[in-house]
């Protein structure tokens, strides 16, 4: 079949083991995965955001006035950028990890030297990349509708990073807790979507009746959107420092939850 000495020569390892290589390879795989599916992962969310801009911003928005200094279109653009980033950060880690579990090829990773935190970081960074690509694309499209001069760009960037990180963790948690596609859809349809729409993306929460306004304060998306809008327009509902602290806290809680779940028997390893 083959020459013995050739096989033996080829079987000698030329390089040393690299502890970071497994992480780098999983990250590469994840980026390759979403970039090769760009019509689903990039174009589709871009079309959705463009439709929102067109319908709510240009169509309905002409007759709406929420903040004196800004048009309705300007009011919703930061939220739409963040929504694209959040949805895609969540979708990337949730779908990729869930598919690996559901189809069983997660064992490809479980039998390798990959550590749990390396797996989480690889899924998180890839999800952040996809979230940022979509967010930047929505930003570029929004320039054709209403250019925004960013008031606090570094603050906005920090919030975008925290938002992507937070929802990547949430995606990992959803993937680890779901046993079927139906379970996974529960996270998207009954948690992510209501949080986004009730988080003040299309309206200021101060316009809600008392109890609903107070309930909004329990929604982490409200702090993210309010803080990101502050970075864009310079206006806020909650002190930006407080928003930053709340968002960081939630992100850290979800990060540790995803590590704990990943190491729990029955989630990845039986």
């Amino acid at each position: 079949m083959s020459n013995n000495s050739t096989t033996q020569k080829l079987y000698v390892r030329a390089q040393k083991f690299s502890a970071n290589k497994p992480f780098q390879t999983l990250l590469k795989r994840e980026i390759l995965r979403f970039s090769s599916l760009f019509s689903q992962t990039i174009i589709a969310p871009l079309v959705t955001a463009s439709l929102y801009l067109l319908i709510f911003g240009v169509g309905l928005g002409k007759n709406l006035s929420i903040l004196k200094e800004f048009s309705y279109l300007e009011f919703i653009i930061p939220g739409l950028i963040l929504m694209g980033l959040i949805r895609n950060s969540f979708a990337n880690s949730a779908s990729s990890l869930f598919m690996a579990r559901y189809l069983g090829y997660i064992s490809d990773f479980l039998t390798t030297p990959l550590k749990s935190y390396q797996m989480i970081l690889a899924y998180t960074i890839a999800s952040l990349c996809r979230g940022f690509v979509v967010g930047i694309c929505v930003l570029v499209v929004s320039l054709f509708f209403s250019p925004i001069s960013w008031q606090h760009p570094f603050y906005a960037l920090s919030i975008a990073f925290i938002a992507g990180f937070l929802f990547s963790q949430f995606g990992i948690i959803a993937a680890l807790m779901s046993e079927s596609f139906d379970h996974l859809n529960v996270f998207t349809n009954f948690i992510i979507t209501p949080l986004i729409y009730l988080g003040g993306l299309f309206y200021p929460v101060s316009s809600l009746p008392g109890i609903w306004e107070r309930i909004s304060y329990a929604n982490p998306l409200f702090y993210l959107i309010d803080a990101f809008r502050y970075g864009a327009l310079g206006v806020y509902h909650v002190n930006p420092s407080l928003s930053l602290i709340v968002c960081l806290l939630v992100a850290l809680i979800l990060f540790f939850t995803s590590i704990k779940l990943m190491n729990s028997p029955g989630r990845l390893r039986q």
């Binding site: 079949m1 083959s2 013995n4 050739t6 096989t7 033996q8 080829l10 079987y11 000698v12 390892r13 030329a14 390089q15 083991f17 690299s18 502890a19 290589k21 497994p22 780098q24 390879t25 999983l26 590469k28 795989r29 390759l32 995965r33 690996a100 189809l103 069983g104 090829y105 064992s107 490809d108 990773f109 479980l110 039998t111 390798t112 030297p113 990959l114 550590k115 028997p265 390893r269 039986q270």
Partner: protein, 300 residues
């Protein structure tokens, strides 16, 4: 004695079901070792615990002297595992998947070794196909390539030849022997017991999660007191009726197979043929096979 694998007091329970019960087993460096047993014996659970995809309930596993729980980075980089289930990442063509697979184990892709594996396992012409486009046998060969891509010191093959045609099966075992010849330890399971008999220096038999026996293949074969006497091309009208109630005689494929032991010897077999006027064209004996050992030890 240098051990490639040392399993001590290993247990695995799923709720109230005990899949592996207090298993103690060791495999020497450079050995080809078979783990055999009927379905549900605990072979794959044991293999998955060695690989790291299943967590033991208790007990320890050492690979090349390192504990696979506390030093899993080391042990997993030394181990190549081919699971029994055909669960493949269908996202990438197999050539690209192999490149990535070596990285998951902490090593750069070695194009020469990758191409050699693809050629040896007759997958080269399919390297741009995704696993979903491959036949069952090709998928198994691709899984063997994945287990070997990072040049491990311990290779674990769980049913590597299931669904692979005879010619390729032989070639695959030749390749496994070749890798073993320069010191790589092989642990395998197979339902083709004649393959295990031909390949392995030692065999362990598991049944219902427990180790029934572990010994050199020839020692196991010598323990079995049975052999077979086979009369081929037999002719007699009432053969099926004649052998209906016998536990020692079987009629199959136009042959009579006599299982010889202390209760039923060759003299009695010949008398049976003579007394019933059974003619035959050929008569030969067959020594005990691993299959006989396996059946005898697992029949309870």
């Amino acid at each position: 004695m240098d051990l490639a694998l040392e399993i001590t007091n290993l247990n695995k329970s799923y709720s109230t079901f005990k899949a592996v019960k207090n298993l103690n087993l060791s495999v020497r460096k450079g050995e080809i070792f078979a783990l055999l047993g009927p379905n549900g014996a605990g072979k794959s659970t044991t293999i998955n615990m060695i690989g790291g995809s299943v967590l033991p309930t208790s007990g320890s596993i050492k690979i090349m002297g390192h504990d696979n729980q506390t030093h899993f980075v080391k042990t997993r980089s030394l181990t190549g595992i081919m699971p029994q289930e055909l669960q493949l990442d269908n996202f990438f063509p197999i050539g690209r998947a192999l490149k990535l697979h070596s990285g998951y184990y902490g090593y750069d892709d070695d194009p020469k070794w990758r191409n050699f594996l693809l050629e040896t396992l007759q997958l080269k012409e399919h390297e741009n196909k995704k696993p979903v486009k491959l036949s069952g046998g090709m998928k198994r060969r691709f899984m063997v390539a994945k287990a070997l891509i990072h040049k491990p010191e311990l290779v674990i093959l769980d049913e590597p030849t299931a669904g692979v045609d005879v010619e390729l099966r032989k070639q695959m075992w030749d390749f496994v022997r070749e890798i073993n010849s320069f010191g790589v330890t092989i642990l395998l399971t197979t339902h083709y017991l004649e393959e295990a008999q031909a390949m392995c220096q030692r065999v362990a038999i598991l049944n219902k999660g427990e180790l029934v026996t572990v010994d050199k293949t020839e020692n196991l074969l010598s323990k079995v007191k049975t052999s077979k006497l086979i009369a081929r091309n037999v002719s007699q009208n009432n053969l099926d009726t004649l052998v209906k109630d016998s536990v020692h005689i079987q009629h199959k494929d136009n042959a009579l197979v006599f299982t010889l032991n202390e209760q039923f010897n060759s003299q009695q077999a010949l008398s049976f043929l003579n007394n019933n006027n059974i003619s035959f064209s050929e008569l030969h004996t067959q020594k005990a096979q691993l299959e006989d050992v396996f059946l005898e030890l697992t029949k309870a």
